[in-house]
């Protein structure tokens, strides 16, 4: 494998030099990270400046002090509680800069902790209207840092920039109307002094979009709707239609087509492309919306300066299983068939691991990574489209009878849901938390919403293996082969970190932060944090020592679903703490 896969760090190294020059030339911006620092942050081991630990989102650190030999000695340095009664799912990834750890908490809160002592510096509680009824949980997935600001999104669909020293509001902008069903939980991304943000909301009637706002004022610079027929804007002017009107949608269904960008994206500084995943189409019953329904369940590559879509790849055309396609697209470089390539990878809700040419969106490969994919039998390498199993599409209701019930794997919670994967530049492997589960799914002729008869879909989620639902898997992106897997009884719902110390870290709902050998998958260390871990771990170096941090606090979408799956986590207690670890001094 080493022979066929050669890593390239040249691009990143160049960016790092450029940023150093910029900082020196503009001392006025010295109070905090610049956009150039952020673009080069993947190689900065003394800080964690972005969600994903660098714009590519590889979650890879070159630090080696904690390694396969020493990790067994890892002990807590401190734990900091988020306090109060608001202990629900903690899906945040910490941001670390200049002796401070910034974490967001459930209920749209942001905390600043001293990175050496764990003492709280300040706390910001967004004032939320009590009328919001979030669909899932009240999670938040993290903040973005830039200059003197720390920026995060709130459940009532606002972006808020706080002074990172004081926690005082600098600007606060509504990015969508929460009364129309929009919300916001993803971590923002900083690109060229802009805050890049997606949107999220309930199942009916919303349209996905990506916004770029001035990081200093919060004013809108460009917006790009994700559904064909809608027109984007650049600095207040129309900037071209997304796709072609009615090419893949009938009538005016595109106006309410879905495609929410609820997870945010990644960025490639070299090509200046933002990669953003889009959610499922509406309505539920796919028979009512013939066509591919672009650009739902897709990855979009968007020019960061103008918001124009440069390429797209649809992972589930004409989605009828609520697979959604928001999963992160992570750039990496590798040699395929003797040819060095600029690639990107995405482990999709639909159970396939995609490798694409990130410069043009061309299909390279799609490999099954869960036990079963009932809806399709692989992808056609020529067209990049799924080989559908037509019998496995839930049927249309006939009169008052529900449509044909099908057993579908993965379940709509996905082969992999929101939890971000990691790519090791050392092993050339991707590490992702996946889940083996299926569902009975059908279209209901009559369900009720808002007190009246509506379209509905019915689901029953069930495990498909005796011994596990969750599985942390290591995939070789050049061969599509699973190199190793670690099975977990409860569904995995937290992010992954990998390091040049030969390690892979991830958390479990059972409350453990665990470390594995990146080459073999052997479990080398674990620590019980007291509640389920559904956050994403990070690492950095401070005062000559390597630190590892993760949020603990059980919640998210999984506990909402009962039945057989719930048996695996019914004893897990809620929580809300930041845990920080390091090796003992001697």
């Amino acid at each position: 494998m080493k022979g066929t896969l050669r890593r390239s760090l040249a691009g990143l190294a160049t960016s790092a030099l450029a940023s150093a020059a910029l900082v020196a030339a503009v001392p006025a911006l010295a109070d905090g990270p610049t956009s150039a620092d952020i673009a080069a942050s993947a190689t900065n081991t003394s800080a964690v400046l972005t969600n994903g630990m660098g714009p590519w989102g590889q979650r890879y650190s070159t630090l080696t002090q904690v390694n396969t030999s020493t990790v067994k000695n890892l002990v807590p340095a401190f734990a900091s509680s988020l306090g109060g009664e608001k202990q629900r799912g903690q899906e945040s990834q910490p941001i670390v800069y200049d002796g401070t750890i910034y974490v967001t908490g459930s209920y749209s809160r942001l905390f600043a902790f001293d990175a050496r002592t764990g003492e709280k510096k300040w706390e910001y509680n967004a004032r939320l209207p009590d009328g919001i009824m979030p669909c899932c949980d009240v999670v938040n997935r993290g903040a973005a840092i830039h200059g003197d600001k720390i920026i995060f999104a709130t459940l009532d669909a606002h972006l808020i920039a706080l002074n990172r020293h004081t926690g005082k509001v600098i600007w606060n902008k509504a990015i969508a109307d929460y009364q129309a069903g929009y919300s916001a939980t993803a971590a923002p991304m900083i690109v060229k002094d802009m805050v890049i943000y997606g949107n999220s909301g309930g199942e009916f009637g919303i349209v996905g979009s990506v916004q770029a706002r001035d990081v200093n004022t919060g004013e809108l610079i460009w917006e790009r709707p994700t559904i064909e027929g809608h027109v984007g804007t650049l600095r207040g002017q129309p900037n071209g239609m997304t796709g072609k009107l009615n090419a893949t949608w009938t009538g005016d269904l595109w106006k309410t087509g879905g495609g929410a960008t609820w997870l945010g994206g990644t960025y490639d500084p070299e090509s200046n492309l933002i990669f953003m995943g889009t959610g499922n189409p509406g309505p539920w019953n796919s028979h009512l919306r013939p066509g591919d329904n672009l650009y739902t369940s897709s990855t979009l590559a968007i020019d960061a300066d103008t918001g124009v879509i440069k390429w797209h790849f649809q992972t589930t055309p004409h989605d009828g299983w609520d697979f959604d396609g928001v999963n992160e697209f992570i750039p990496f470089d590798a040699t395929v068939g003797g040819k060095p390539m600029k690639l990107g990878a995405k482990a999709d809700r639909n159970g396939y691991f995609f490798v694409l040419d990130r410069t043009n969106g061309k299909f390279v490969s799609a490999s099954k990574f869960v036990m079963q994919t009932t809806w399709a039998n692989g992808f056609n390498p020529k067209t990049g489209r799924p080989n559908y199993n037509d019998d496995n599409r839930p049927g249309a209701p006939v009169g008052a009878e529900k449509g044909k019930v099908v057993f579908s794997s993965p379940s709509f919670l996905g082969g992999k849901n929101w939890m971000p994967m990691a790519y090791s530049q050392q092993t050339g492997l991707f590490y992702f938390p996946s889940n083996d589960w299926g569902m009975d799914i059908w279209n209901e002729p009559i369900a009720y919403k808002k007190g009246a008869a509506y379209l509905g879909a019915g689901f029953t989620i069930k495990p498909i293996a005796e011994d596990h639902i969750g599985a942390l898997r290591a995939m070789d992106p050049t061969t599509g082969k699973i190199v190793w897997e670690y099975k977990n009884k409860a569904p995995l719902w937290g992010g992954v970190l990998t390091t040049a110390g030969g390690l892979v870290f991830t958390g479990t709902p059972e409350g453990y932060l665990k470390a594995f050998d990146a080459k073999t998958g052997q479990e080398l260390w674990k620590f019980q944090t007291g509640s389920g871990v559904v956050g994403s771990p990070v690492t950095w170096q401070q005062d000559g020592e390597q630190y590892v941090a993760v949020m603990s606090g059980w919640g998210g979408a999984v506990p909402l679903w009962g039945g057989e799956v719930a048996k695996t986590f019914k004893e897990i207690s809620q929580g809300g703490s930041l845990w920080v670890f390091k090796l003992p001094k001697n």
Partner: protein, 292 residues
Amino acid sequence: MSEPLHRRALLRSALQAGLVAGAAALLPRPLAAAPLAKVKADGRLRVGVYADNRPWSWTEGGVLRGIDVDLGKALARALGVEPQVVEFFAGDDLGADLRNVVWRGGLLGFQPCDVMLHVPFDRQLMIENDQVAIVAPYTREGFGLVCGPEGGDCEAPPVQFRGKRIAAETATLSDAYLLGSFGGVLRSNVRHFQSGYAAMAAVGTGTADVAMGTRAQVEAALHDFPAAGLKRRKGPIPALPSPGWDVAMAVKDNSRTLGDALETIVGELVAKGAMASIFATYGVEWHAALAG
């Protein structure tokens, strides 16, 4: 219907206990704390109604109005307490609404209501939501169709609406019917709106030719756009998957004393004609619930 009847029988027996509790403060604590007694002790009935659900409940000029709003006030008056009618945003399904509004409250501080209005009296809903009791069906809803001056023959088979501008609320049963029936021939003619009333109003203002929605939405539009030349379809809509449904209210499963008191009040409002006059204010004809 055996399940709802069973529930109603249970409520009857609970009623007697509740009335006693309300009458005598000397009873042991568990009974004195019964929900009906608590509503009376608080002097307030908190009633949850859907936001943006015209003609049942909507906000206009900062004032919450509609059939359900007036009914909520009438229920409180009959109990001898102050009404507190509050609107809430619909969740993805009824289960979410019952959780947020009746038995748990919103995660962000929305206080549970004593009663939530406009809950379908549906057996499957009752089975799936055993934290609440669905009681006191107060009217029957169904589907209707309205045509504007350019809508052609409103009594024609719906396939003949092909080419017309047809309005419906997104993802409702009306929407599915128009998109999916007759081999999908009407699919490209359907225009989607965020509420049923907005779809009706589109015909009222001439931006659509035909609209399909609930019966109350149709009648409210006829009432609100008297000069628009609207016609209502008199014949049935063929091959509809739903014959209509009874509209009821939900209380917490342990609030059956309140639930039965509300059933009694609904019966009285119907008998006095007060129920029909509340509906008439909004141009809607009251129909008795089948289970009532």
